[in-house]
């Protein structure tokens, strides 16, 4: 409020100079008493409707969790997914979504000048909180991006474990980059390269439309490619899901290891029971220790590489690009000008001011991309450690971090629910 008041006062102070500066022709005084028309001010969507979106999100999350965990019907999840696709996708045109809200949150956390709207915060937090209790039911049938891909799963092939695991690093990279660029106020890349939002709006850049079509095409054979190998929000959901209180189970009561569900998951999230004993325990233990030992090394290397690439990464920031352009033009390294440099020179701002601002941005980038690099090092080494952890599994189970609770496996389990064995 105070900020707004200051803004108004600033405008009031500035305005006379500016307006009179361009008031070349005085407004006429009409003899006929002509009334000046007033321009219309159509208002944006009301706050009430924005809050309605949050309520719809909450209701669909509750429904999805209920259907996945209690009702256990694939059909219900499918219909709810189609509803979400229509509401959050085609009706709300894909904005705002929890995936994109990551950037609003990080911008709000690192930039004091940006204050996040409550709707953005709610969209970010609610699915995480639900996942912490019920697993990734958000992915099952609330996320419009998940829903559109889920419909396109036609003939899924099995992605080899090593490929799945290594491609699984991409979401971490995307999340890190998304946070880095939004925290420095440079760009919202997660929104910029959202492959499906053009479908939701039924207009957009040709490149993104083609990208979206490619994702859907691949999605026919590799189930949910965006969710599994790119979605930055899935990183957070995976971690939450690992600690979730309840989770979708393949069997309604007790697994009889009939193997019928083995190939039912199009997303490769079903884990077989472990073999009785691994062949050589010492080798695994050695590798495990080694993986833990090189963790600090990987983090340091990542951080070093991050700091080194900070200057390159900072070119995503438009101010950095502008400053470089202005410098190049001043030192006659380039012959022409750009719209941005002409606009800057026309604005009357001092070059030194821009340069010093950009130096500050660069410093922030060095720090932030150092953290980003360290984070990637941590992720890679954690993935390596995870490879050597053998957990005993007696039944066929859904991998908590990978399972999107779509409910396809329910129908494959021949075990009928009995009242006595209802609870875990």
């Amino acid at each position: 409020m105070i900020r707004f008041a200051i803004f108004i006062i600033m405008i009031l102070l500035l305005l006379p100079n500016i307006t009179y500066g361009i008031q070349r022709f005085p407004p006429p005084e009409f003899e006929t008493g002509h009334e000046l028309p007033v321009p219309t001010v159509p208002f944006p969507r009301s706050d009430f409707l924005e809050y309605t979106d949050v309520v719809v999100l909450l209701v669909t999350l509750i429904l999805a969790s209920y259907i996945a965990l209690k009702k256990r019907t694939r059909k219900g999840l499918l219909f709810l997914g189609i509803f979400s696709l229509i509401y959050f996708g085609f009706w709300r045109k894909g904005c705002i979504c929890p995936i994109g809200a990551i950037q609003n949150i990080s911008l709000a956390l690192f930039n004091k000048s940006y204050i996040a709207p409550i709707t953005a915060i709610a969209f970010f937090i609610l699915p995480l909180a639900f996942t912490l209790f019920f697993g990734r039911t958000f992915c099952a049938s609330v996320c419009p991006l998940g829903a559109i891909q889920d419909i396109f799963v036609i003939r899924p092939i099995k992605v080899p474990y090593w490929l799945e695991n290594s491609l699984g690093l991409l979401p971490y990279l995307y999340l890190g980059a998304g946070v880095l660029f939004s925290a420095t106020g440079s760009a919202f890349i997660i929104c910029e390269y959202d492959p499906f939002v053009s479908f939701f709006r039924r207009s957009g850049r040709a490149s993104i439309l083609i990208l979206g079509a490619c994702f859907l095409l691949i999605g026919m054979f590799v189930g949910r490619p965006y969710c599994r190998f790119l979605c930055p929000y899935s990183v957070l959901l995976r971690l939450m899901s690992l600690a979730s209180k309840w989770h979708v189970r393949i069997t309604p009561s007790e697994c009889i290891k009939c193997r019928l569900c083995e190939d039912s998951c199009p997303f490769g999230a079903i884990r077989k029971p472990t073999q009785e004993k691994p062949k050589d325990k010492t080798l695994g233990k050695k590798a495990f220790t080694l993986a833990i030992l090189i963790m600090p090394l990987l983090i340091v290397v990542g951080a070093y590489l991050g700091v080194r690439s900070g200057t390159t990464l900072s070119h995503v920031n438009p101010k950095v690009r502008l400053a470089e352009r202005v410098w190049l033009e001043d030192n006659s390294k380039v012959g022409d000008t750009t719209d941005a440099s002409v606009a800057f020179r026309g604005s009357g701002r001092a070059k030194e001011e821009l340069y010093s601002e950009v130096i500050k941005i660069n410093e922030r980038f060095a720090k932030a991309s150092g953290i980003f690099g360290g984070f990637m090092g941590l992720v890679i080494s954690a993935k390596m450690i995870q490879l050597f952890i053998r957990r005993k599994r007696l039944d066929y189970e859904a991998d908590r971090s990978q399972c999107v609770s779509c409910g396809r496996c329910f129908a494959y389990c021949p075990v009928v629910k009995s009242k006595d064995l209802d609870h875990e």
Partner: protein
């Protein structure tokens, strides 16, 4: 079997702890954000004083016809007979013939008020937000024509693609309850 159960409860205990920590973290995040959150949403708007009339608003919007359109503040207008926002630089005659008009869509209506004053009104459904008239008015006139994001059309994308391509950085997020940056309006108030 008993050992198995004990192990399981141990694991559950750890899981409960992690879940508690996650909830605590989320609560902390929520607290720190909501503490200074705004109840009202934010919308994109362009500052007419920073606009350089480059014409990118017309092309960069995700909508087929841009959400940015020309707005006319009549109280700033000089009601000129020779309007440099309406006529092309070398008009054959000062009349409403199409060849004299600057607007490629013919979206400005010119009506006679009284001698020597003419009123210029934007036919909004026709306007594509190219800013040609804005440039003409700004360069030689009062600058009473300028571009604004029209919020009945704007989808309010989280990442505005016009803002991304704006060369002068004229776009910013402003509160949805006062979604316009009109020239001269504050002065009148």
């Amino acid at each position: 079997m008993k050992e198995e159960k004990e192990k399981l409860t141990k694991r559950d205990f750890i899981k409960d702890g992690i879940r508690g920590l996650c909830l605590l973290g989320m609560g902390g995040l929520l607290g720190s954000l909501v503490n200074r959150a705004r109840a009202s949403d934010l919308v994109w708007q362009l500052d007419p004083y920073k606009c350089v009339q480059c014409g990118k608003c017309a092309d960069n919007c995700v909508l087929e016809v841009s959400a940015v359109k020309c707005v006319h503040i009549f109280s700033l207008c000089g009601y000129c007979r020779l309007c440099t926002g309406y006529f092309n630089p070398q008009p054959n005659a000062l009349n409403t013939a199409a060849e004299n008009q600057l607007c490629p869509l013919g979206a400005i209506k010119r009506t006679y008020v009284e001698d020597p004053y003419y009123e210029y009104t934007i036919d909004e459904p026709l306007c594509i937000g190219c800013g040609k008239c804005v440039k003409g008015c700004y360069s030689f006139g009062n600058g009473s024509l300028f571009l604004q994001v029209r919020h009945d059309r704007c989808l309010n994308c989280n990442d505005c693609s016009i803002a991304r391509g704006c060369p002068s950085g004229a776009y910013r997020r402003i509160p949805a309850n006062s979604p316009y940056l009109f020239k001269g309006v504050e002065q009148k108030a």
